[in-house]
């Protein structure tokens, strides 16, 4: 099942500039390029459980990486 999507409007002149920039690259559409850029800008961070985070923090402290 494909992911639910929403429609966002961007200025046409910006669209045209992006279209020109991605011509001949791996990106097959402006939409694909924008999604890629936004995914990098707002990444899904790895999820840490509280216990896991404390174990990692303790190890980093022990090794001198953090105070």
């Amino acid at each position: 099942m494909s992911e639910e999507t929403v429609i966002i409007r961007i200025p046409k002149r910006l669209y045209k500039r992006i279209e020109k920039k991605i011509a001949g690259t791996i990106f097959s559409s402006v939409e694909e390029y924008i999604i890629h850029r936004l995914e990098n800008e707002f990444p899904e961070e790895p999820v840490y459980t509280e216990e896991e985070e404390e174990i990692i923090r303790e190890r980093l402290r022990r090794l001198g990486y953090i105070e």
Binding site: F27, P46, Y48, E52, I56, L63, I66
Partner: protein
Amino acid sequence: MPAPHGGRLIDRLVPESRRERIEEEAEELPRVSVSMEKRKDLENIAYGIYSPLEGPLTQEDYRSVLDRGRLANDVPWTIPIVIDVSEDEASSFREGDDIALVEGGEPFALLHVEEVYPLDRREYALKVFKTLDPAHPGVARTMGMKPLLVGGPIWLFRETPGKFPRYRLKPKETRLLFRERGWRTIAGFQTRNAPHLGHEYVQKTALAFVDGLFINPLIGRKKPGDFRDEVIIEAYEALLRHYYLRETAVLVTLEMEMRYAGPREAIFHAIVRKNYGCTHFIVGRDHAGVGKYYGPYEAQEAFDEYPDLGITPLFFRSFFYCRRCGGVTNERVCPHPAECRIEFSGTRIREMLMRGERPPKELMRPEVVDVILRHPNPFVE
């Protein structure tokens, strides 16, 4: 911080609570022996360092990586991560089976065999290394590979402690480390050398743009004449202690062999650092090169093909010490003639060190030289 490559940080490490049972199960399975280098690759898969890979490549991905430098789903990937097996080994299992991967007699991972397929060594060498010259260390290793490849997801249940456990971190740890330090932008620096002033200058120039520096030396098989792992680590310890702000740089090892695949390996190195959480990656002259197989800036040019890499390369040209300028500089900045220059020639520095001579302080920090000369043989034989 960038998302892990492919969107998700892979974790194929069997939880502690299930290890004993998996280890028992592994005892009953067909076995395939792998080298320590392959074991490290598989550990890197399990820790998410090679995200999005979940195991050695299956055929479609393998072909796609060779032909296009991308996985079949278009995600950039340039170095085939594979497990090679003999026909005899392959006769002990079928596609769909689980097998135990063994190194030094010790089972350490399960592999669910999705596919067994033939390896064309010449094609592999030509596409990855751009040469068939057996003098190229990567080609020589490829020609020694077994004739079949086996692909599928793995589960790692026994870890090696690592050569320098104190410096071995997983991406989940480095990402938390960067967060704890408040670094939003991080430049990854790949190295297989003890640092000279040229390296230091590159790193510190990058630090002018980013919050933190991630110095990430490769620990593992290298070619004769390269610095030994322990020399690299001790040299960096000395450099960081005497010449870096503690709050802006970290030293973390990466247990992985050098492939010497030039441009392809530069992209691969960038992907790996993206998985650690780096936003930027430093690419110098002749990155991951050997001999004269690649142009001096070919590795930098390779990034043009990957606008979707998700990590920003920082390109640096050659630096040198200029006696007239009185410091480290480069040809785009320094107006003085060549006779004023002292080049950072790795070969020249190595030759001096091999003779027990101290390279001048314009080339290498005295504290770093002390560390190197303390070792009876600082180079791989």
